[in-house]
Symmetry: C2
Subunit: 364 residues, 2 copies
C-alpha cells in the first residue's frame, strides 16, 4: 500500500506542543502496525503571518488538496490582534474549509466515565453523554454576500452579513447526519430558527423531504436553536445526532463541548465534498483553541489532538482497528489516574504534555 | 394622578391562566396602595388567529402605542402550525417589537436561593447567580432585507436572511447596558462574532467607542458568542451585564435562563425608543412560552408573569416600592415551601396556579 499522505499544520499557541505527542503515536504505528505515513508540515495562523505575512499561503491550500487528510492544531494569537479582518489568523481555517469544500464538521461531545466530575453539570445529568453535532461549515452567514461595513452619506456606518443556504448545501450535510445516526442511536434533531428566518424554514423543509425520501428508518425531530441551547443544559442526553447550520453549529457545539467539562479531550473532523481531483478532503482538529496563556509551558493536554488523529485513522484511512487502539489507550491512561492540569482532580497524578503522550504510547 | 394605562395581552396556552393571577395582585394594589390602573385586554397569537385570522391586528398595535405599558403573556400554539410564515403566532411579538421600536430586551437570569437545587448545574456553580442580558430586539437578522426563499432557474431553492446593524442601533442598546451596569456590579460584556462577521466587527467598535466617550467608569470586556455559550456553562458568575445582538441574544438569554433551572420564575422587559407621540413604550413578558401541553390544567407557575408585572411597576411606572413588595412576597412564598409542579422538590408543598397566586397576594 502507498503511504498515507498527511499534511500536518500545528498552528499557534499550544498547537505545536500537542502535535508533537501525535508524532509519538505515528512513530509507534509505523513500527508496530506496519503502517506508512508520508508527512508534510507547514505553517498556518499567526505562525504563518510571522513568516509570510499572511495567515495561510495558497501553496498550503494546494498541499492540503493533494493530501489524504489534514491534521490541524489550532490558530489564534493575541500578538496578531491588530492585523485587520483580512489577515486575522482565523482566515487559515476558514479558507481551508471553503477551498477544500469541507462542509460537514463532526463534533462529538462525549463524557468519559473517569471525568464525569469535571463537568459543571450534575453527574446524573451528564453521565454517559454522547452527542454528535454535525455542523455545516462552508455556507450560511460565514460566507454569504453581500458583507462588509459601509458608511452612509450621513456618516452612519452599517455592518452587513448575509445568511444563504441552498437546497443542495442543506441536503448534503443532512445526509451526513442521517448516515451518522444509522451507526449510532438512530435519531437526528435538526436545528434552525424557522420561526424568524426563511433560511431556517428552507432548512427544515429540505431536511424533512430528504428524510421522507431516503431515511425514513431514522427518527427525525426539529428544534428551534434557542430551545436547543436550553435543552442541552436541561437534559442533554435526549440528543443523539444534531444537524444545524454554520452559525448555530458554532455556538451549540461549543456549548455541548462544555457540558463535558473537559475541552482538552474533544476532537473533531470536518469532511469534504469530492473535489475535481477525485479526492474528498478531510481535516481533523481538537476543539480547543491555541490557549496562548499556557503555550510553551509543557502543561497542555494532548489528548484532543491525539483523538483527532484517531478520527483521521477511522474516517480518512479506514483504519478502524488502529483508531480503536488509540482511543482505548487514552481511556486506560485516564483510568490509571494520570491527568493534565485542565482535567486534574483530587487524588489523581498531575502530569505534563509529554508524560501524557508517552503514557498513551506505552498503553498502545 | 391619572390611572396607569395598561394593555394586557394574555395570548395562548398558559398565558390567560397566569395572567389571571396578576389580576389579583393588581386588585390588591388598587385596594391597599391607592393605585389606579386603566386596563384594556386584547387577543394576540393563536387566540387572535382564531378570532380575526391574523396573529395581531393593527388596532392592537395602536392600543399598545397609546398605553403606558404592555403586559404580554405568551404566544405559540401547535394548532396554528400550518398557517404559513406570514401568519404564524410569533408575528404578534415580532410586530409589537418592531412597530413600537422595543429595542432593548432585558433578560435577568437570577437564581433564587430557595431554588438553587432546581438547576442541572452544581449548586456551587450557580448559587447567587445574577446576570442581566441586554438583547437588541428590532435589528439584526430578524428584520434585515433581503430575505425570503427563491427558486433559481435550475430548480435549486435558496433561503436568504440579512444581518444588518447600524451605528445608532448599536449605540442605543449599548447605552442601556452601560446604564444598567452602573446600577449593578459595573461590568458589561459585549458579545459578537467579530472574527467571522463584519456586522460583529462594527458592533465591537461602536461599543468600544461609546464606552471610551461616556462610560469609562464601567468595566467593558468583549467575548465571541461561541465562547460566551461555553463560559455561561463553565462559570456563569463571571458575568454581570451581557449586551448582544438579536440572534445571539435569543440563544444566549435562553441558555442563561436554563442555568437557573426554573424558567417559570423568570420575567423580562423590553424597553422602547421615544415614539412620535412622546411616549416610550415598554413590554413585559415571562420568558417561558405558552406551554400548550399543560395549558388549562391549572398547574402553570404564575410567578414569571407576576414578576414581569413587578418589572412593569419599576421601569414603566417608577413604582419602586410596590415592585419590591411584589418581589419580596414571591420570595417569602417560596421560603414558606409552596411550589408549583415545575419547581417541585422533596418536602415541599405542591400547589396549582391559583393557590400560588393567592399565597403571593396574602404575603403582600
Ligand atoms: C476560529 C473560528 C473562525 C471558528 C468558527 O467560528 O467557525 C471556530 O470558532 C470554530 O468553531 O471552528
Ligand atoms: C417567539 C420568538 C419569535 C422569539 C424570538 O426568537 O425572539 C422568542 O424566542 C423570544 O426570545 O422572545
Amino acid at each position: 500500500a502507498q503511504p498515507a499522505k498527511l499534511l500536518v499544520l500545528p498552528g499557534d499557541g499550544i498547537g505545536p506542543e500537542v502535535m508533537r505527542e501525535v508524532g509519538r503515536v505515528i512513530t509507534w504505528l509505523e513500527k508496530n502496525r506496519g503502517l506508512a505515513f508520508d508527512i508534510t508540515e507547514d505553517l498556518v495562523g499567526g505562525a504563518s503571518l510571522a513568516e509570510y505575512g499572511e495567515p495561510i499561503r495558497n501553496e498550503v491550500i494546494e498541499k492540503a488538496r493533494a493530501a489524504d487528510a489534514v491534521l490541524f492544531g489550532s490558530v489564534g494569537d493575541p500578538r496578531w490582534g491588530h492585523v485587520g479582518f483580512e489577515k486575522r489568523p482565523e482566515v487559515a481555517i476558514l479558507k481551508l474549509r471553503q477551498e477544500l469544500e469541507l462542509f460537514a464538521n463532526l463534533r462529538p461531545a462525549k463524557v468519559f466515565d473517569a471525568l464525569v466530575d469535571a463537568s459543571t453539570l450534575k453527574p446524573d445529568v451528564v453521565r454517559g453523554l454522547d452527542i454528535m453535532i454535525v455542523r455545516e461549515t462552508v455556507g450560511g452567514i460565514y460566507f454569504g454576500d453581500p458583507r462588509g461595513i459601509e458608511t452612509l452619506p450621513d456618516g452612519t456606518r452599517r455592518g452587513i452579513n448575509t445568511e444563504v443556504y441552498t437546497t443542495p448545501e442543506i441536503e448534503r450535510v443532512a445526509r451526513v447526519a442521517f448516515e451518522m445516526a444509522r451507526k449510532r442511536s438512530g435519531h437526528v434533531c435538526s436545528v434552525e430558527k424557522c420561526n424568524v428566518m426563511e433560511s431556517g424554514l428552507l432548512w427544515k423543509e429540505v431536511v424533512t423531504d430528504l428524510h421522507a425520501r431516503e431515511f425514513a428508518d431514522v427518527k427525525l425531530t426539529h428544534m428551534l436553536a434557542d430551545n436547543c441551547a436550553m435543552q442541552l443544559v436541561r437534559n442533554p442526553r435526549q440528543f443523539d445526532v444534531i444537524v444545524t447550520g454554520n452559525l448555530f453549529g458554532d455556538i451549540l457545539s461549543d456549548l455541548a463541548s462544555m457540558l463535558t467539562g473537559s475541552l482538552g479531550m474533544l476532537p473533531s473532523a470536518t469532511l469534504g465534498a469530492v473535489q475535481s481531483n477525485g479526492k474528498s478532503a478531510a481535516l481533523y482538529e481538537p476543539i480547543h483553541g491555541s490557549a496562548p496563556d499556557i503555550a510553551g509551558h509543557g502543561i497542555a493536554n494532548p489528548i484532543a489532538q491525539i483523538l483527532s488523529f484517531a478520527m483521521l485513522l477511522r474516517y480518512s484511512l479506514n483504519l478502524q482497528e488502529e483508531a480503536k487502539m488509540v482511543e482505548e489507550a487514552v481511556s486506560r491512561v485516564l483510568e490509571s489516574g494520570l491527568r493534565t492540569a485542565d482535567i486534574m482532580s483530587d487524588g489523581m497524578a498531575r502530569v505534563g504534555t509529554s508524560v501524557m503522550g508517552e503514557a498513551i504510547v506505552r498503553e498502545l
